[in-house]
């Protein structure tokens, strides 16, 4: 039984020759097949994975292996993989075979990791429940009637169910952290500009950032070491040295100043959620941290600002999907306009259509100042709130999501209600700050998450803060029933 192991453990086991990457990979492929009903994967690359595993085993045998050589993973289906279908959860790209690799994919290949397949997701990363995938909903392994969160729902459910030991994901407004919280995982959205966006299908360019979906902070650190760094192909990627994220995991938290925004702990916060978060904060106090109340007065504006900025950028980013050079093309277009309108109308689902329309409207003549420009000004105020806060504290903590996983279909008809579930996660994207979610005590037998928001480029410290919590608690080691019992 290897599928309950962290990648830290797998790395050691592979290096020690306890098992081969081929064995490990076969086991995961078998489990993926066995639990296909969770719908975690859009594409499984059986052949490619076994080939990569064999190569990894050779490398390990020759002594040329790195720490993650031979460790399998799933890629969110938003990362372009050359020769392997990349759908982005959309009918638009149902048959799209990417002609090149994303930088994240290249880095992971170079580390010798094995790609099991492409994980399900909300179409073009728009959604908080994974119900917006053209390839169907993903089921939450903790309770298959529930959503896994989104948009990286496939990545989260796969890791939670042991169908991949770790996965890549992306976060534009909480798409790593919220599904991590809902599936009992540790996920990190790095500082904007830490990980290259080259080859990652763009949703909202000034907000998107890739990161790991993992079983622990330590696992996050290992993958962060692999995917972070400068990339000349991305103008927004920062040319700045990368810390060794694994090196300082065991630093002491004595004297750590933890900021608790009053706005995150208002009366509206569900008491049960508040209790598990408070208990987690007590653990931090026990580790020597000092809790300080702070203010982020513009928090309530983050959702309105986000739902202008992100749709505006997406309305333009998604214009390239026009049925001309790749992707879905409608049957028998009668003229050029018909080709565009029907290819796009038929190729995009309802939520993507909605967001393109919001963005198109917000940018259109006569509304630009009232919506887009206003949102950009407020975005600065939100960022300045954080800058002030980080003069007083080292890290900010609060709940990741107001709720635990909700039933599939519960919010499907009310986009605004769905949007409100991003209330705590969105502002880190607007400000470009690194943020994480880590599992705390469950609420109603479902996982809940504690969110950490750090200052710019403080990923190493955040991973240290998260790791120390996980040395004192075992919430991250809890596994859903039905996936880890018995032999394989």
């Amino acid at each position: 039984m290897l599928h309950n192991k962290s990648i830290t453990e797998l790395s050691a086991g592979l290096a020690a020759g306890e098992y081969s990457s081929a064995e490990l990979t076969k086991q995961y492929l078998q489990r993926i097949d066995q639990h296909a009903d969770l719908n975690c994967y859009i594409t499984v690359d059986q052949e490619g994975a076994l080939h990569q595993a064999a190569e990894a085993d050779k490398l390990i045998a020759s002594g040329g292996a790195g720490p993650l050589t031979g460790v399998p993973l799933a890629h969110k289906d938003i990362f372009l993989t050359e020769g392997l279908r990349t759908t982005c959860g959309s009918r638009m790209l149902e048959n799209f075979i990417a002609p090149y690799d994303a930088t994240v994919v290249t880095n992971i290949k170079q580390a010798g990791m094995v790609t099991l397949g492409k994980a399900n997701m909300d179409e073009f990363a728009m959604g908080s429940s994974n119900e917006n995938s053209y390839f169907g909903s993903v089921l939450n392994p903790w309770n298959i009637k529930m959503v896994p969160g989104g948009s990286s729902g496939g990545s989260a459910a796969a890791v939670a169910a042991g169908l991949a030991p770790i996965a890549t994901a992306t976060d534009t407004g909480g798409s790593i952290r919220q599904p991590a919280a809902l599936c009992g995982l540790t996920g990190m959205k790095p500082t904007y500009g830490r990980v290259s966006r080259w080859g990652m299908v763009a949703f909202a360019s000034s907000l998107d950032q890739a990161g790991p979906m993992a079983q622990s902070a330590e696992d996050c650190a290992l993958l962060m070491n692999t995917i972070s760094g400068f990339d000349a192909k991305d103008s927004t990627c920062m040319d700045r040295p990368v810390d060794d994220y694994h090196a300082n995991l065991n630093d002491s938290l004595e004297g750590l100043r933890v900021g608790l925004p009053r706005e995150y702990f208002s009366d509206e916060l569900d008491p049960a959620m508040r209790k598990v978060v408070d208990d987690a904060l007590k653990v931090y106090e026990g580790l020597g941290a000092q809790l300080i109340e702070i203010d982020l007065p513009n928090t309530h504006l983050s959702i309105p600002v986000y739902y202008i900025v992100a749709p505006a950028e997406c309305s333009s980013n998604l214009s390239r999907f026009d049925g001309v050079r790749y992707g879905y093309r409608c049957d028998d277009p009668k003229d050029l306009d018909d080709l565009y309108s029907r290819s796009r109308g038929e190729g995009f689902g309802a939520e993507v259509t909605r967001r393109i329309m919001i963005g198109t409207y917000a940018l259109s003549s006569g509304y630009y100042d009232a919506y887009y420009l206003k949102a950009q000004q407020l975005r600065r105020l939100i960022k300045e709130d954080f800058e002030k806060a980080f003069e007083q504290v080292d890290v900010i903590m609060g709940p990741t999501s107001p709720d635990v996983a909700f039933p599939i279909g519960a919010k499907a008809d009310d986009p605004v209600d769905m949007y409100l579930s991003d209330i705590y996660t969105i502002s880190a994207n607007l400000a470009g700050l690194p943020a994480m979610s880590l599992p705390v005590e469950q609420v109603n037998q479902l996982p809940a998450g504690l969110q950490l928001i750090g200052n710019y480029w403080s990923e190493a410290r955040m991973l240290n803060i998260a790791h120390q919590f996980q040395q004192k608690t075992a919430w991250h080691q809890q596994k859903p029933v039905g996936f880890f019992e018995g032999g394989s």
């Binding site: 002609p99 504006l301 050079r325 050029l336 796009r344 919001i358 950009q376 600065r380 105020l381």
Partner: protein, 95 residues
């Protein structure tokens, strides 16, 4: 802020999104409630606040002017819906 059926049709055309007549009221409804949510922004005075387009305050990096690409037309056009003689084909464009 209320979005009318006509607004929806106009936006859908601008964004080249085919929406059936039956779907229009539903989108009008959704969009209206979203813009209602967004309306909160107007309550804040942002006079003199510089708009922020990027999370990081950095400037554009420049690339050396060198040709680094080779012809990969066949590979790129393998995924195209319709091509002929190396060209992408679309319904006749009328100038």
């Amino acid at each position: 802020m209320s979005i009318s059926d006509d607004d929806v049709k106009k936006i859908a055309h601008l964004a080249r999104l085919h929406i059936s007549d039956e779907q229009v009221p539903g989108y009008a409804n959704n969009l209206s409630s979203i813009f209602e949510l967004v309306e909160q922004m107007q309550s804040v005075d942002t006079e003199g606040v510089e708009p922020m387009a990027h999370p990081l305050d950095i400037v554009q990096r420049l690339r050396v002017d060198e040709v680094g690409e080779t012809d990969q037309r066949d590979k790129y056009q393998a995924i195209a819906p319709q091509t002929e003689a190396g060209l992408y084909l679309v319904p006749k464009v009328i100038e």
